[in-house]
Symmetry: C2
């Protein structure tokens, strides 16, 4: 069975040494001293390792079952969920007014990496509840907030998001679910939704569905979509549960992975619902929490890469197979461990160099979300909005690839389900698809975010990179190993952006044909920047005679690997982008 080792030291390094959250002006960050964060992360890490991880493979094997309309979750899931609920973990970053702990998102994001890394399927239940909480918290009336939020913060009630219908996923303008206004101000919701994660299950007293639907007579397309709360059980004035509402699970999907998560077909049949926010503004309400939700999915991808990686590293140290080409390393054994072989190390270094920078990228992103939500920093909001599709798309594409590399190290054993490596691959696969498929992320990046506010946020990113290089280029080692490659990669990114600006207006297909390449190019520059920043911190710590020199030296080694072997991909991505639309668009549809 796979192990889970919480990456505590690495998280502390990013939080306190690289980002220096304790010195930030963001309200609430003054609490984040190393003693406090390490107490929280250690405790969360223990739960991840000892409670959540041991259930991961069992959840995959057992899956969820639909029996007479009731969904049975895998054995032990409810008890593990209770551990999260009882410890107050589900409300870590929630508003204290509704029973939350009020912690910064940056801390809860670090906690979430461990929880979802240890058991992604289980954590979808509280994750979605938090998403629904955020939508209601931002857009709901006081009455709705008082009625629903306290139980959602504690996860006594869980939440869902109902967007997709059989004939429409990305293109929500096509949706058909109807909401008929009632005399008492409520609505009757009817329609079918599919792919509803945690839509029905046996781990909570009530389930609060957020549902996108159309009020008859409203505008056509996406402008006529409204957002509703539809509880599984109606909630009485005194807060007690009332009658069962007209919502039920019609089927469970058999999926490639996240078997412990109940993915439901949900049928709404004159179900009582309550409008959240304004009528016809539902899509906006749903999307205001999108940054955080997409960062969360990026984190799922990264967390699976990390979980798979630590197991692959362990296997590579243990499994004896073949001899090192430069001479026997384990003379007392029948063979050397796999890790002596350069190609095995290459695969492990690919994973490690990606994961550590990806983690820093996500924590940085979370800190910008805090800067916006806690102190109204619009520049931070603009930048993190720009980077959100990169975090979601790049970290899940590469996260999946990384789990495949980890599985490969196990040879034939990696293909056997019992070993657990297949599950990391299968679970990670969904992260490239849901919360906006990665092609949609690329479209969002190139078609919307890049030029938003006159390209201001993209310029801010380039300035940030340039500023960091300028500030630090006097350090020869840092300059040669990190800043020069970063500068080259950043130039590729600027050249690609320039190409889009020049061709995008007259030939939008030319920009969109390169959108996925651009997303990856951008992702590499971000991780290159993370490595440059981490290398600077490591260099300074070494110069200051840090007691744990090896930790910092290893950071430099791993960072150099990224700069030398992974970052040069930016040139290839640029070449693809500037080949334009013609090669992509030339064939007739029927000739594929």
């Amino acid at each position: 069975m796979p192990i889970y080792t919480p990456p505590l030291k690495d998280m502390q390094f990013v939080l306190h040494e690289v980002l220096k959250v304790q010195d930030s002006a963001t309200p609430g960050y003054d609490e984040l001293d190393t003693g406090f964060t390490s107490a929280i992360l250690e405790e969360a890490g223990k739960i991840a390792r000892d409670v959540l991880a041991p259930l991961n493979e069992l959840g995959d094997r057992e899956g969820c079952r639909l029996e007479n309309g009731v969904v049975r979750t895998p054995k032990g899931f409810k008890e593990a969920f209770d551990t999260l609920r009882n410890g107050g973990w589900t409300g870590l970053a929630c508003d204290p007014e509704y029973g939350g702990q009020g912690m910064p998102y940056v801390l809860s994001a670090a906690v979430a990496e461990m929880q979802t890394g240890a058991n992604m399927a289980l954590n979808i239940y509280p994750d979605l509840t938090h998403g629904a909480y955020s939508a209601i918290h931002t857009h709901g009336s006081d009455a709705l907030k008082q009625k629903f939020l306290p139980k959602m913060v504690s996860c006594e009630w869980t939440g869902t998001m109902n967007l997709t219908e059989p004939h429409c996923g990305t293109d929500l303008g096509l949706l058909r679910t109807k909401a008929e206004p009632q005399a008492d101000g409520s609505y009757k919701i009817s329609g079918q939704k599919i792919f509803i994660s945690a839509g029905e299950h046996d781990m909570a007293d009530n389930i609060i569905h957020l549902v996108l639907a159309k009020i008859p007579g409203g505008p056509e397309g996406v402008k006529g979509i409204s957002l509703f709360i539809v509880p599984k059980f109606l909630v009485r004035e005194d807060g007690a549960l009332g009658a069962r509402n007209g919502v039920s699970c019609g089927n469970l999907e058999e999926k490639m992975g996240i078997h412990g998560n109940a993915t439901c077909v949900m049928n709404f049949d004159d179900a009582e619902g309550y409008l959240v926010g304004e009528a016809h503004k539902g899509l906006r309400a749903m999307f205001t929490m999108m940054n955080q939700a997409r960062v969360g999915v990026g984190q799922q991808g990264l967390s699976q890469a990390y979980a798979a990686y630590i197991n692959a590293a362990e296997y590579a140290r243990d499994r004896l197979q073949g001899r090192a080409v430069t001479g026997v390393q384990n003379p007392d054994g029948p063979a050397d461990p796999l890790i002596v072989h350069p190609d095995i190390r290459r695969a492990l270094m690919d994973q490690k160099a990606f994961i550590e920078a990806g983690r820093a990228f996500l924590i940085w992103g979370a800190s910008m979300i805090d800067a916006h939500t806690r102190s109204g920093d619009e520049a931070a909001n603009g930048l993190v909005s720009l980077l959100t599709p990169v975090m979601k798309g790049f970290l899940t594409d590469k996260g999946f690839e990384s789990t495949v590399q980890a599985q490969q190290i196990f040879g034939g054993h990696g293909y056997i389900e019992e070993q657990g490596m297949s599950q990391f691959v299968r679970d990670a696969r969904i992260t490239m698809i849901y919360e906006g498929a990665n092609g949609v992320q690329a479209l969002d990046l190139v078609g919307r975010k890049l030029a938003s506010d006159g390209g201001k946020h993209a310029m801010a990113f380039f300035d940030l990179v340039k500023g960091f290089i300028k500030e630090n280029e006097a350090d020869d080692g840092l300059n040669a190993d990190f800043l020069i490659p970063l500068k080259a990669a950043s130039k590729d990114l600027q050249a690609a952006s320039m190409y889009f600006m020049q061709t995008g207006m007259k030939d939008p297909n030319a920009a969109l044909a390169g959108s996925t390449d651009f997303l990856h190019l951008f992702g590499h520059v971000c991780l290159g920047l993370m490595w440059a920043q981490m290398a600077k911190t490591a260099t300074e710590s070494l110069a200051a005679g840090a007691s744990d020199a090896r930790f910092y030296e290893n950071k430099l080694v791993t960072g150099r690997y990224y700069m030398q072997r992974l970052l040069p991909e930016t040139g290839l991505r640029l070449a693809r982008i500037t080949s334009g639309a013609a090669p992509v668009m030339a064939l007739a549809a029927e000739d594929f």
Copy 2:
């Protein structure tokens, strides 16, 4: 349920227009006129589409079950296998002396792509039988051949390969299975083998296991390994089946994919076995058929990519979602088909451009195997041996990636098992692992094949590329679109080879750290060469006023896509390779 459309026209194009097999001097190729090959391929395609493909998803869902030592294969598998047996398909390329059809491998390889593309799990049974047939045919005594081959050619009896043991896969020197010589010249085999495909099942009267084992007192390590035939049922002098032998299936593995294939733990307990070839030369005997087996696995990877691709293209044409950025394309519908979106086309073009060149590469490889086996062409043998790890490693890495891209086009529907796209991904995944994991292929390429015979075969490959460019560069269109990019890629490959030659002797880790990159660099040059050759043929056909101009124009479009957007990866691979061993080897094992 996924469809399967046999790629008949594409195969005919490669066989008759690009490779011109009908004009080849290889014995037996004179039979291969277009009428004959199209009759065979059409019939094989029908079986693939109508008999094998409809069972694919069912085989995945139902899997194999072990009941009291008997393995039950999925419903319908035996009847479909009967169709293959009764039609003589299993012996297509086998020796007529033992009941085979004696066809060239190049034709049976084309047939195999369709059969394995339509149902990979089912085709493993005849594929492995053919592998075992080849080993016995090449190395067995006449008596063994007479006794076992006729029933293996007809697949009344199936075959297996027993190499892996729990503690050793790649490193066969560690194996422990013992073969004790008996007075009658037979051996008693005892030990445990794992991951034995088709090790036990209910579709054949007998199963002929080929088993690697050590004769006590023989040399240590791989030099003391011998190859044995161990039948499930002993075969009497008159050919009738006798007593059950001491071999049984101890367990079935639960795997990520190929569920219709029985992957068995095999226990040998004083089982009667017969030496194949010389004692202690078993590994050589097993590996002489390795070229063909590895080409076959490369073909599995490609075949899954193709099967996934045709379904993705169909879905992209059918599914209505969003509107084209350049203006509505389907004004009468609620939305435009997915295929109008540039990023969807980009993903489809990635797949198509890879698949068509990969198919040509494999058929070319098969023709070289024929040139060697049918007319003793040692140059062809040297070249195909060099290219075998590329065909296996590159085509399965990219084949898997291609299935993931196809699945991605389905969005959330791609993650649902019912849709069938997940199965292509899960089935294709094994091709990167078995028959020598792709890291081992890369090691074989860089550590052995590249420098074998003084680098003669690598030089022959470079000369082939150079010669083709020189012969054709007078054609300006071909030169600009195909030959110039091919020349650049080939230079990257030569630079990488040179780097290995210069550093490999003093720092073997520097060569091996770049081995996977080299395999991919080599693969791209091969597919670039295939596209250049196909483009030449297409250009000539268009100039000659071919009636099906659109087919040839599409070839040029698809080829240009490869040259512009995929082939430039060679530069990135070269950069990684020349970064050398240091970044890969610098960390201590315990610091991963």
